[in-house]
């Protein structure tokens, strides 16, 4: 096959294969999914070690413990699907997509790694990323509330984008970039128009034609396919709601329908006055919140405060490794915590056995 005259140019695209993936090595690794604090170089990076800080060995042990707690079974098991007995439903032919999905042995961790690699790629090389997730319309380019997700996040099937299509898609992505820049200029020129917080990509990206569906004939011709608008177009029209204070007329959160409670003689008493109910956000604010794009899996994970999610609010509590009471005594050999002498003795037997001391 001569590839229909399309010449493949070597680039920085990643190639996804079931089970593993080529990933461009760009800078330090992103935070891992389960336990993100990477403190490999903790000793070097920290100005001074404090008492509460864990050693690298303890850190590794905790990480391994947590990984063990996250497993479905204690041992690795491989349960095959039992053979079908007396099944009358005919084995119909799968479509290519379905076959690929069914044969994929990727776990969630693999998918997460792929996704992270995609994000890293999008940061370092937006053009290539755009080519990867072919013709993925950027989610909410105009939503000011979520600047993070405005990056070309791979929101749909990336595995579908083969190298065959990448060249065409890159071209299309470039065209889309151009279009968007033009659009931005246009909106700048008209400052009276407030940004429309609509979730769907604003009405003009015809370049973002879908080719996630595997219709090959669809790829040859660039038919401008505007995105369907799930909402009636009037809804996305810019609404100018002047900021109001509570109670007010709101379309989104209507005011309490009943009359307010009867006046009380103590209402005017300055000592009884509370600071009151904070004003409700304006409709525009609510609209932006309710239509903002979803965060990614890793962004939604709650983390501790601090720059690297490293500072807990309170110091960690320590427990006796034997009985579960407070860990008040430290074992001199291993640094583990026990509650009192009785547990310390129990622990020592194990501790000595563990290290052969």
């Amino acid at each position: 096959m001569n590839n229909f005259g399309v010449i493949e140019i070597a680039g920085t695209t990643t190639k996804s294969t079931p089970g593993w993936a080529y990933v461009p090595d760009t800078g330090p690794a992103l935070a891992a999914g389960l336990q993100p604090a990477n403190r490999k170089r903790a000793a070097r990076n920290q100005p001074a070690l404090s008492l509460s800080d864990l050693s690298a060995r303890q850190e590794t042990r905790i990480r391994k413990d947590l990984e063990a707690l996250d497993r479905d079974n204690h041992k690795d098991t491989n349960i095959a699907i039992p053979p079908k007995s007396g099944r009358s439903r005919a084995q119909n032919k799968h479509t290519p997509n379905v076959r690929k999905i069914l044969q994929s042995q990727k776990t969630f961790a693999n998918h997460l790694d792929d996704y992270q690699a995609m994000l890293a790629l999008a940061e370092s090389n937006p053009g290539a990323a755009a080519a990867m997730n072919a013709a993925q319309a950027k989610p909410s380019t105009s939503t000011a509330a979520t600047p993070k997700s405005a990056s070309p996040a791979p929101t749909t099937s990336s595995a579908g984008g083969g190298s065959k299509r990448s060249a065409a898609a890159a071209k299309r992505a470039a065209a889309q970039e151009k279009l968007e820049q033009e659009r931005k200029k246009a909106t700048k020129a008209a400052p009276s128009r407030p940004p429309s917080p609509s979730p769907e990509p604003s009405p003009a990206p015809p370049a973002a034609a879908d080719d996630d569906d595997d219709n090959d004939d669809n790829d040859d011709e660039d038919i401008p396919m505007p995105d369907a608008t799930p909402l009636p177009p009037t809804a996305t029209a810019t609404t100018t709601t002047p900021p109001q204070t509570y109670p007010r007329e709101s379309d989104i959160l209507p005011a309490y329908p009943k009359p307010p409670p009867r006046a009380h003689p103590g209402d005017a008493d300055p000592l009884l006055a509370s600071c009151g109910v904070p004003p409700l956000p304006s409709d525009a604010e609510l609209r932006a919140l309710m239509t903002a794009a979803p965060l990614s899996y890793l962004e939604a994970r709650a983390a501790w405060a601090g720059a690297g999610g490293d500072q807990a609010r309170y110091p960690a509590r320590v427990f006796c490794a034997v009985c579960g009471y407070w860990g008040r005594v430290k074992c001199l050999k291993c640094g583990g915590r026990v509650c009192a002498l009785e547990c310390l003795e129990a622990h020592r037997e194990e501790c000595a056995g563990r290290y052969g001391l």
Partner: protein, 446 residues
Amino acid sequence: MASSRKSRSARAPPPPRTLVLDNGSDTIKAGFVTGEKTAGPRIIPNCLARDRHRKTYVGSELEKCKDFGEIAFRRPVEKGFIANWEAQKEIWDREFFDDKAPQRCDPSESRLVLAEQPNSLPALQTHCDQMVFEEFGFASYYRGTGPSFNAYHDIQAIFHTPRTSETIIDIPAEVILLIDSGYSHTTVTPILQGRPIHPAIRRLDVGGKLMTNYLTRVLSLRHFDMRNETYIVNEMKEAVCYVSLDFKGDLEKTWKGTRGERREEYLTGAGIAKDYVLPDSHKSFHGVVREYDPGASSRAACKGTVSTEDVLTLRNERFVVPELLFNPSDIGMRQPGLADLVMQSLSALPIGLWPGLLANIVVVGGNAKLENFIQRLQMELLERVPDECVVRVARPADPVISTWLGAANFAKHEHVEQLAVTKQEYEEHGAGWVARKFAAGLGVDS
């Protein structure tokens, strides 16, 4: 082209029957909605299981299994998201699409409403859409986040808000803060008018699985090696674990004391200690909880009879395990506890929304069944929020199927017509369009 234009202007009537699926990591909740009638849900274990005789059970066949010793599981859903479609298809086939399936369903004449966890990976969402249309061939389909389906309940009834007969029940509920604590994680989702506020959704990676595994580890250290008995430990967890309202005090009561000392509270059990009789796999197959009997061992020794049953005395194990939800740092996890999780979620929102959200906190998911869960959460939240705020925390009558019931209400609501995608639309516009349509959700003005 002509036909598609026609179909857009006058959409085909919706399929008469809707299959509502809450496809959880541990169990599938499934049932049908036909017109105004709701049937179900049936709770199906979402796993392939193999017992010690190497017999394999798929999905609801697990009911036939009697001996759960050393049973091993393979779960198609990981972290709340369908990762392995090979296994998932097998389970769905056996439950819904085979001729002898218990909930027989003809996809070409049904609509599918599927609940998924928030913040899914796009690749997995696309896989899901492709499987639904290309393999199963449903006529119509909507995939929405599970938490937001809970808004289609009469929420104020859960809180027992006093009201008169003319009060209008608004569905979807105006404002809820939904906490979904399931098998793989716990999520906090603020919902306004049935629309989830995505920037404020937060997740804590503590769920039922982690707690069961932690209990397994603790028991294996202190009593017997239970590491292969996940199922039995899980039953034990559901039977005895509770959330402590006074962690320090309870821990003090369960301490045996220093060397030689035996504290009074330890000997009597202080109302906390419980005996758990393990199944012996011959006569009994499920464990039994008993009140703690302080003199049992000495009496047995006097009589000279050796008891054949294995009894575990559970003391601080009962409340230390659910404590992980509120203090994940106890096992070294670098995540805030549940109350802080709620505060993190709220801090992403304008302060004007706080009073409404805090007064309408609903907890669903299997962990909500833990005793005192609601009270502890309310207690911790009251410490963190401004004094003027009313904090109300409640759980529906059955927190496990709450999401399913909400999704069933949603399937009857007019919103489903705006959101569902038909097979023709999928074939015409492709998976990317479908994913974007689902991600956009309801919008605001509909």
